[in-house]
């Protein structure tokens, strides 16, 4: 227990940007107590001491006494370096979600296990072809866009969470392959990123599960450019198969360039940049299209594409629903968990969860 308190105290203090003397002052606990607690030299602290420290850190006694969960086979990389405590927080958050997800499946008797797909032939290195193979294995029509990526993941029992918080600006998602049941994708969707990005990131992380099984190691924190490029390429071909893309592009002939891009991007539910990348890749346009398109867009619509604005964007309601919320509601309806526990799992206030569960139970 004392080790748990020590780990948590250090990370919550770092999170709040407090020094040991500052925490001591804010909590009214002596500085020597703070030090001995953080170095595991203290005997079991009293509830009063823990309460004072928890309040000073905007946490609860429960937070201080609960060990952060770890994951061994997580693929959580970022361009920017992360403070250790922030990494622990993100891993803990995702591990709790996955643990809760598996628990819900177990209590409802619907446990699901990752169903692997045909392996990627590295020698061949044709991700377009591999994406088509995967689409085929998932029984997706070759001439159809993907309307529900959550459903695609569900078919292979990959758990999906659209986490309502984002740990840092440059972090969009991660993937976990802890065990066949605990295999999942987390996309950080705080509502500030476009739905197109949410969809693309979902497939990008799914791609890591298929392509980079050996790189699921918690100790690796730096991004691998090659792996990122491969995951991006897979996501692009998976959402926008080559043949279908060319058909759609051809079908849009007659419209202005801007209109054609917007029409095609909307058809495939991808960003306009994904379409531009493909056009460049297929040598259908010059690489300076990245500069020209925003100007042409402004001339056509009078609007700017600054600040990562997505033109002709999907609505936030187009984000697919993950199965987690449904399971939490079902478990509460079946009396397997309390309403408050469902609220905790769904990161919503209790009475909001009560409403959600009521609606899931047919009370509108």
């Amino acid at each position: 227990m004392i080790q748990t308190v020590a780990v948590n105290l250090k990370r919550f203090r770092a999170e709040q940007g407090l020094t040991q003397p500052e925490l001591a002052k804010k909590s009214g606990v002596s500085i020597s107590s703070v030090k001995t607690l953080e170095t595991c030299k203290a005997t079991n602290p009293s509830a009063k001491t823990l309460g004072a420290l928890a309040r000073a850190l905007n946490r609860t006694i429960g937070d201080l006494l609960t060990e952060p969960l770890r994951l061994e086979r997580i693929r959580f990389r970022a361009k920017a370096s992360f403070a250790q405590y922030r990494r622990i927080n993100v891993v803990n958050l995702c591990a709790r979600w996955l643990d809760d997800y598996c628990y819900l499946e177990d209590v409802l008797g619907v446990a699901s296990f990752f169903k692997p797909l045909p392996p990627f032939n590295v020698a061949n290195d044709d991700l377009g072809e591999y994406a088509n193979e995967v689409r085929k294995a998932l029984e997706i029509q070759p001439d159809a866009p993907i309307y529900d990526v959550a459903d695609v993941l569900r078919k292979r029992s990959v758990k999906l969470w659209y986490c309502p918080q984002r740990p840092a600006d440059a972090v969009y998602g991660l993937a976990i392959q802890e065990s066949p049941q605990a295999t999942g994708v987390v996309v950080f969707n705080d509502g500030k990123i476009s739905t197109e990005r949410v969809i693309f990131t979902t497939v990008h992380e799914f791609a890591h599960l298929l392509l980079h099984e050996d790189s699921f190691k918690s100790e690796i924190t730096q991004e691998s450019k090659t792996e990122e490029r491969q995951a991006d390429a897979f996501a692009s071909y998976f959402l926008m198969p080559k043949k279908l893309f060319l058909q759609q592009w051809e079908a849009s002939v007659g419209g202005r360039f801007v209109e054609r891009v917007l029409r095609v991007k909307r058809f495939f539910r991808v960003s306009y940049l994904t379409v531009l990348h493909r056009l460049v890749e297929e040598k259908l346009v010059d690489p300076n299209v990245y500069v020209k398109f925003p100007i042409a867009y402004r001339e056509t619509t009078g609007e700017s594409l600054r600040n990562h604005r997505e033109p002709n964007a999907l609505s936030p309601f187009d984000v697919p629903t993950d199965r987690f919320q449904r399971l939490a509601c079902e478990a509460a309806l079946a009396g397997k968990i309390t309403v408050d526990r469902a609220a905790e799992m769904l990161s919503v206030p209790t009475l909001q969860a009560y409403e959600l569960i009521n609606q899931a139970g047919g009370i509108v």
């Binding site: 509830a47 309460g51 006494l65 009396g335 968990i337 309403v339 408050d340 609220a343 569960i357 009521n358």
Partner: protein, 177 residues
């Protein structure tokens, strides 16, 4: 009638139900059955939806959850057996145990845990039945409570409704004889 302690500790959903269905019933509960407590840990939650002053005026008393109780709640919550509960659920359980209150909840998982700790538990509708039995409310008011509650709470399944009506009628019959 079930074992109950003459002080009631309500969970957030039950408080919300009462405030939505029949607010005046609170003063009747306090007069007929005993004090009605709300643990401090759910007060912030209730504040999001209701005026706290109003809640207190109606007769709810806030029961402060001490650091010791929070500590004990964490110990319970961190046991695998109680994964269905949250820290706040466990705090309710500990407070009910320490203050000898009956825990009023419709959450089956919390009820089960209460039984493990020998805490008396009541369903929300049992409180309504007890009120009617002790002449705190009329038969019609009890019926109206059920009618409104089943429109806003998933806990009130047709089976629960039917059982309530049967028990209500049994009490009525008993009263008449």
């Amino acid at each position: 009638m079930k074992r109950y302690s003459p002080a009631l500790l309500l969970d957030a959903c039950v408080v919300s139900d009462i405030l939505n269905v029949d607010v005046e019933i609170i003063s009747l509960i306090t007069q007929v059955l005993g004090a009605v407590y709300v643990p401090s840990v759910i007060v912030d939650e209730l504040r999001r939806k209701f005026e706290l002053d109003e809640i207190i005026k109606l007769g709810f008393e806030i029961l402060e959850v001490s650091d010791e109780a929070q500590y004990a709640a964490t110990v319970v919550k961190n046991q695998k057996k109680y994964r269905a509960l949250t820290q706040n659920d466990c705090a309710c359980l500990i407070m009910a145990s320490q203050t000898n209150c009956s825990c009023v909840t419709n959450d089956f998982a919390l009820q089960k845990a209460c039984k493990d700790f020998n805490v008396a538990v009541l369903w929300e509708l049992e409180v309504v039945l007890m009120l009617y039995e002790r002449d705190g409310i009329s038969y019609e008011r009890a019926e109206r409570y059920l009618d409104k509650l089943k429109r806003i709470s998933f806990y009130i399944t047709p089976q629960v409704s039917e059982r309530f009506t049967t028990e209500l009628n049994q009490i009525k019959k008993k009263k008449e004889t």
